[in-house]
Amino acid sequence: MTRYILRRLLAMPFLVLGIITLAFLLTTVTKGDPLTAVVSDRQMNNPEVVAAAKARWGLDRSLPERYAIYVGNLLQGDMGTSFITRRPVAQDVLYRLPATMELVIAAMIVGSTIGISLGVLAAYFRNSPIDHLARFFALFGSSIPVFWLGLALLFVFSVQWGILPGPGRIDARATLPPAVTGFLTIDTLLAGDFRLFLDALWHLVLPAFVLGWAVAGTISRLVRANMLEVMGREFILTARAKGAGELRVVLRHALRNTLVPTLTVIGYSFAYLLTGAVLTETIFSWPGMGSYAVEAARGLDFPAIIGVTIVGGVVFLVTNLLTDIAYVIANPRVRLG
């Protein structure tokens, strides 16, 4: 098992390098001229800026040299300067990362809860109307475009019925608490401002639900399959013979045995959440990495686009690795290779 973990850890730097290389290749194809990848259209006429960019990225050198410089810069944390914000991309990303993390974690909680509940219900009431409804609900979530769902729910709950707040992380007029973690929910609690905490939480509900629903589908499908398998096993009969009620049988005996594969699928669905976050943040004006990426894409802000892609790739890689390792630790009987 330790060998497996070591193997994966050793492979990491190469994969990260691979990500960086792929990103570098992208910079070479932008509009045919690599200069456009680091200097915005507006600045093209400014010879100082152009010269500085050429020096920083070695644009006059050969391809391999440019690659080396690129990697070197990256390892020092230099991902270029955003055309739109005029700030270093690395700084922008770091600033906006917590918002995305908060959203994604909330979505994971919502999605897992819905997914596990639906999966358990579907398995327990297999082939009944409840089962079909649960499966349809899950399927629906995987079929609906996240951005449209967000719009629709915003319209219904915020505009028409007014029970949920509109876009944004928090009331626009509120003073933000001191940023400790970057997570508004935690920071407001730490600052002792309970009303603001509730406001932040309330703003989180809709986007987390929209993002989580899609993931709930995949999770529920897996939970259902696993539960069906576990419920057919002998020790379930033993539990019933002991006099345990159905709820206890399902939760304490069956569900506990499906926890490991369920956690892994939750870990893997992180990827999907990162993807969906891009669009969700746009709809809900959520100032995270996702909306940053969209603004960058719309404005052809290449350093930002590529910077976000690299960061997204690394985060994704790390999450998958952690999930794989957690799975192996919890279940050493599994041979992975």
């Binding site: 399927l139 079929s143 996240v146 449209w148 719009l151 990827a271 746009t282 990426a293 590529i306 890689l317």
Partner: protein, 278 residues
């Protein structure tokens, strides 16, 4: 899902209710792709009425910010979304299957190199990678297609490779090799024919996801350019007209139904080939 109460004798086993629904829905949109000019009441690009009219008898889905009929634009939208999705899947499957088969069959350095490339590409969240590629290449549906193919081909490469690795060990392959068949012949005549099924099933199930990806790219402005009636960009326009909910409703429902349709078909195929999970 349960079987419909159709007399057993006349209904084939795979035609369950969801499968039938899926086929109907997808069939409808296929029809729209081909017959949009005859199905749509108005021209999708013409400003035929007053702007931002709610749904009415003349305009079942209302009109958008430029006075165009939403229903017609939605129907025409199929002409952009469906063929692109099919193209993306077809090209990805081709590239992925070829590379995957080579990797599984030849093995060695080449095989590993291909898998490294697959791993790296799959290390990116699909949306971000597609965005990055599409942005680098420039807006337009063609570039968006390239971006999507780059994102999707590794999936099929992995699948094909796994299939080839498994089939390669089977007896009839050994027999063919022993009989002196060339490596190409072994691969094409003995291994590949048995590998296609899971790949094709996967491809069909993925069509819905590709449509979603394409719409997402268009939504943020990296796919279709105005005034093309593509569903994703239509929803983007609808977002700008937030209070005129019908502008986004048409294309949104279109995407929802067609993806649902493909998912139903995919589920039906999956249940047919693996009924244990029922």
């Amino acid at each position: 899902m349960t079987a419909v109460a159709i007399p057993r004798m006349t209904r084939p086993r795979w035609l369950t209710l969801p499968m039938a629904l899926g086929l109907l829905i997808v069939g409808f949109w296929l029809l729209a792709t081909v017959a949009a000019p005859w199905m749509a009441p108005y021209d999708p690009l013409d400003m035929v009425a007053r702007r931002l009219q709610p749904p009415s008898w003349e305009h079942w889905l209302g009109t958008d910010a430029l006075g165009r009929d939403v229903l017609s634009r939605t129907l025409y939208g199929a002409r952009h979304s469906l063929p692109i999705a099919v193209a993306v899947v077809a090209i990805s499957v081709t590239i992925g299957a070829v590379l995957g088969a080579v990797s599984g069959f030849v093995g060695g350095f080449v095989g590993s190199a291909i898998m490294r490339l697959v791993d790296i590409t799959l290390s990116f969240p699909p949306m971000l990678l597609a965005m990055a590629v599409a942005a680098s290449l420039g807006p337009g549906l063609g570039n968006a297609t390239v971006a999507m193919v780059i994102v999707w081909w590794p999936v099929y490469a992995r699948l094909m490779r796994a299939q080839v690795l498994e089939v390669r060990e089977r007896e009839h392959v050994e027999a063919a090799v022993a009989a002196g068949a060339t490596r190409t012949r072994v691969l094409t005549k003995h291994i590949l024919p048995l590998c296609w099924t899971p790949v094709l099933i996967s491809a069909t199930m993925d069509l819905g996801q590709v449509i979603l990806l394409a719409a997402s790219l268009s939504f943020i402005g990296l796919g279709a350019t105005p005034p093309t009636p593509e569903w994703g960009s239509m929803i983007s326009e609808g977002a700008a007209q937030f209070y005129s909910w019908w502008v986004a409703f048409g294309p949104g429902m279109a995407i929802l139904t067609i993806v649902l349709g493909f998912n139903f078909i995919g589920d039906g195929l999956h249940d047919y080939f693996d009924p244990r999970s029922k």
